[in-house]
Assembly symmetry: C2
Homo-oligomer: 476 residues x 2
């Protein structure tokens, strides 16, 4: 593999290293035996993408159980300049596990140990392969929980690597705020623990935050310490219909300014409601809907609900309905979680692409409405669902993958959506990451910042073996 | 100036560049006229340290008013390889504004523009020289405020550069959590804006968090966008005495686990209370005291106070006293803010050094008690005050600077305090930064992480012109 730096100081990987890959796999096979596999089906599974991005298979998959084993792999791959692609649960949406230059997929899903729960410090130390559901099941009796919930039951290492987020982020933050430290195997095989367990520190560069969101391009996260939160004493969920997207966003803004500490504020647009009503046998008005959750003490959540209801009514909200029993709340959120399947069912036979952007909340309504119009003007079906407390929304654009014209229209809509968000001082991706799919927006979003990122990448991974072709490597 | 990398891959700056400094200052004088000064008194003021670290003067001070002017300076200094030391209000506690190799101090204190308040988005865009008090005065009528309050009325750029924190961090976070983006002039003169204004993003490496806490060693922060928060509807302050440090910490831990969203939890130890009682004419029991503040709705804060009081009583707390009027609250916090002067007055004639560490809260009582014992075993006076909700505490060690033996004892106590915190999985500095004073603990705290930090520094500032001798440059 040869590296060059182009005019933007970005990385250029120019060739696949067949001989190195073969040698490295032969050496690793000696150590890992049956935990190294090269069957096509397994390699295909490890290049699985949930988007239209073409799968690019690794040459081998190695199942690991420890940081030490990851270090062993990296040392061999570093010597022979072989790409290493970390793999958690494979739920990346932007081609994050693809292997454009082949190489070794390092599967961390067997790294399932929960190493320490420090209840007094509200933190937990886990191996990277533990999923968020597994962690919360383990914590159930402790009175603590881990709040970050991207749709998928992703691995915590993968969630850190992609700076994942989800419905609870409006209150509890994203992985950026909830990772205390990570243990990383760097491109030279060094094991780096990015911080101790103190809640804050001013000792040196924030390597934790540098690794969180680096998508495996700077190193492989093998262990991490995460913040935990006390399970709320009381939880109330609610829905409220609004005449327009603008009205729903206005209510969200007012609630935020009044410092109502809402745990979830999800916007479901009218197209989405139609699909949900059919799929989940509900009868919400076919207008924008907010789905809400309030966490706090018994009296605290009651007060929050009243405050929010007043704001919602002032903004034209209707059919406000709050529920507190676990069964009712689960029913409400099940409909939200099933919205993907509701939309797929509504457009049976179509292909679908999910994408997201995030903008300052003052621009959210405008961004959603313009995106809705663009989708419908192009004859596509693309309902919108959003974590509106953060200014973040997704669309699932349905299209006929065998129809090149429709495919092109879909791509253009996605392009304009990202550029629209950037023009509104937003980001081309709030929580899906860059991977391969959104590299084309990096220069528009970061300008000279891409030079800085590239310089860091080159400094820490001079041979570009760590998940090449992702984030800031525009060449393959 | 010549750079070498030693066995730990750390930076080694070996000589002062007299000729380059002279040339650069001559060129800059042409552009900046009277805004470039070389008087000794001004240069001394710009190398002022609040510690025992010897001042090291820059060769010139340039007052700037825009990012463009900073870029102009950096381009000249980059060409002639001249050190650049950013200066905000000069309140660094670890020698952050010292100029060990001379060079140009860039004074940003005239960059006072508040460029935009985005009330709906709860953010504000400011120039780096605005101080936190100036910002809050400006915001007073908007219903919003900026919560981070290090003791000093520091500049917001300096607070970002040093990852500042303070009494409100337990609820609102530190600069790490409250900076949305920074505009930075890099060592090559590039202007980089690290992010757009979206509340979250998963687009590429987190350059914002990399710059926050880098202490001017990677670039100069000239503008920043900060999160704002709604002014709480109701505020109650309170004090409660405890029989022991352990009891006070136990109450803090229980309150955190019960998710009481306290805005401030400050521990004042018995030595400190004695000084405060005299200085502020108060009569608190001479036992450890917690000073607290609760923010929320009227009924919310009342509930929080009751919950905390119950916990405090369970832990042996006594003399719990809550106050809600602005006057009473100001009186209570004034005593806290004056504690530095109370201690100085109590030990009139002595020199004093303030230092801080931060540990997981489960180890806090142990760390405080061992530190108290170490101080008194060495015949020193060093009261302790702490942001205990974060596990962070400070001591102000008083000593006779003319007595070499006492000075040495003081240094040894500070050393052991940092090492004790590290051994408890904490950090050698919670909020004071590394500067020059704590570089010696970097390897113990970060191990191989120092290699990563050094590689980043070398990649972004290959000539080591950005605030040399700080954070990871151990040589000067």
């Amino acid at each position: 593999m040869t590296i060059a730096v182009n005019e933007n100081n970005t990385i250029k990987t120019v060739e696949r290293n067949d001989a190195g890959i073969k040698t490295a796999i032969d050496i690793l096979k000696q150590q890992f035996g049956d935990n190294l596999q090269t069957s096509k089906s397994l390699r295909e599974q490890h290049a699985h993408t949930t988007t239209y991005i073409t799968p690019q298979l690794p040459d081998a998959v190695v199942f690991v159980t420890s940081t030490q084993e990851v270090q062993d792999i990296v040392k061999v791959c570093a010597e022979y300049k072989v790409p290493i692609i970390p793999f958690g649960t494979g739920t990346s949406l932007e081609g994050g596990v693809n292997a454009p230059l082949g190489g070794v997929s390092v599967d961390l899903s067997r790294m399932k140990e929960i190493l320490a729960v420090n209840a007094e410090d509200l933190d937990v130390h886990v191996q990277a392969g533990v999923t968020r559901s597994e962690l919360n099941s383990y914590l159930r009796d402790t009175g603590l929980f881990f709040p970050i919930d991207p749709g998928a039951d992703a691995s915590l290492g993968g969630m850190a690597a992609t700076r994942a987020s989800g419905t609870n982020a409006v209150r509890y933050g994203t992985m950026r705020e909830n990772v205390i430290n990570v243990t990383v195997v760097m491109a030279d095989g060094d094991i780096v623990k990015t911080a101790h367990r103190a809640k804050k520190t001013s000792a040196g560069y924030d390597l934790t935050r540098l690794m969180v969101g680096s998508e495996g391009t700077l190193g492989i996260i093998t262990e991490l310490t995460l913040k935990l939160h006390g399970q709320p004493e009381a939880v109330i969920a609610a829905v409220c219909s609004f005449p327009t997207i603008e009205a729903a966003c206005e209510a969200t803004i007012m609630a935020t300014q009044c410092a109502i500490p809402m745990a979830r504020i999800e916007l479901v647009d009218e197209e989405n409601i139609k699909a949900i009503n059919i799929y989940s046998k509900l009868n919400y008005p076919e207008t924008p809907l907010l789905m809400l959750e309030f966490h706090g003490s018994e009296s605290g959540v009651a007060e929050q609900v009243e405050m929010f209801k007043d704001i919602a009514m002032e903004c034209g909200g209707q059919d406000f309905n709050a529920v507190s029993s676990l069964e009712d709340r689960n029913k409400l959120w099940q409909a939200r979680h099933d919205s993907y399947w509701a939309m797929r069912s509504y457009t049976a036979g179509k292909d679908a692409l999910t994408t997201d952007v995030c903008v300052p909340i003052s621009r959210l309504a405008e961004c959603v409405v313009e995106t809705q119009k663009d989708i419908s003007d192009n004859g596509l079906y693309g309902p919108i669902i959003g974590h509106v407390g953060d200014g973040n929304f997704h669309t699932l654009i349905c299209f006929d993958g065998k129809n090149p014209e429709e495919f092109k229209k879909m791509e253009e809509v996605v392009d304009r959506m990202a550029k629209r968000a950037l023009a509104m001082d937003g980001t081309c991706t709030g929580e899906h990451g860059i991977g391969q799919g959104k590299r084309k927006f990096m220069l528009a979003e970061h300008g000279t910042g891409v030079k800085v990122m590239s310089a860091i990448k080159l400094a820490l991974d001079p041979d570009n073996i760590m998940n090449p072709g992702k984030v800031i490597d525009f060449s393959v």
